[in-house]
Symmetry: C2
Subunit: 118 residues, 2 copies
Amino acid sequence: MRKESSTNTLNRNKIHVNCGMAYTLDLIGGRWKPTILWALLEGKLRYSELKKNIPDVSERILVLQLRELEKDGLIKRLVYAEVPPRVEYELTNDGQSMRHMLQIISDWGDLHRPKKAN
Amino acid sequence: MRKESSTNTLNRNKIHVNCGMAYTLDLIGGRWKPTILWALLEGKLRYSELKKNIPDVSERILVLQLRELEKDGLIKRLVYAEVPPRVEYELTNDGQSMRHMLQIISDWGDLHRPKKAN
DNA sequence: TTAAGTACTGACAAAAATGTAAGTAATGAG
DNA sequence: CTCATTACTTACATTTTTGTCAGTACTTAA
């Protein structure tokens, strides 16, 4: 939950206005968001499939991150009226438009992060 | 301060190992880091010049962010033995190597963030 | 009637990030 | 002796993010 009037939040919003970079990083910067986006670049996934792909995230946090990505227009939530329920997540056009950028960010990291031993 | 054994930190580190994207985003994801890096892309700056460029950041936080960028090898801290003191910050080679990526992240943001009302 | 499957939600707690306000050290200028 | 200058540091407080654990709703199958 965000307190709309804290210096913290005011600063965040102020930065967005004149720094596209900060804006972008806020959208994709959550702990599990890169992993989620990466998975969805392959195509649509059910909630349970995402969970399987990302075993370390707790359900609460997974849902939180999905909701934020949805609110920010990067993913779509598709609900099918079935029992048991079926919900699929997929990238929106805006989400898809990140593909190239995400690849470049990923490449930079792969190239520069400390090498694994062995 | 980071608690090395918290689930939070363990998750962070585990993600880094198999997601270059998450690793990169952790390096540049601090509140003021994009702004700092952006400023330093133009060239070296003194501490006081950075402060002037980024009026909303408090000194404590500015120093914290600079220290992290330095620890992560993206910027260099150059200290001159003068009085009054002079300290300059500049990008390292690794920092410079981000230029293209940062530009792309910035462009995506400029293109997709909600438009200012006129 | 009980259990299984799916996609969650809620109350609570811990950890991390960010911010505020005041103070410090060294030295040369006046 | 006092002040200005620069680049910080310290103690503390607030806000935000992330995590734990248990529980829910709905329907079908056994």
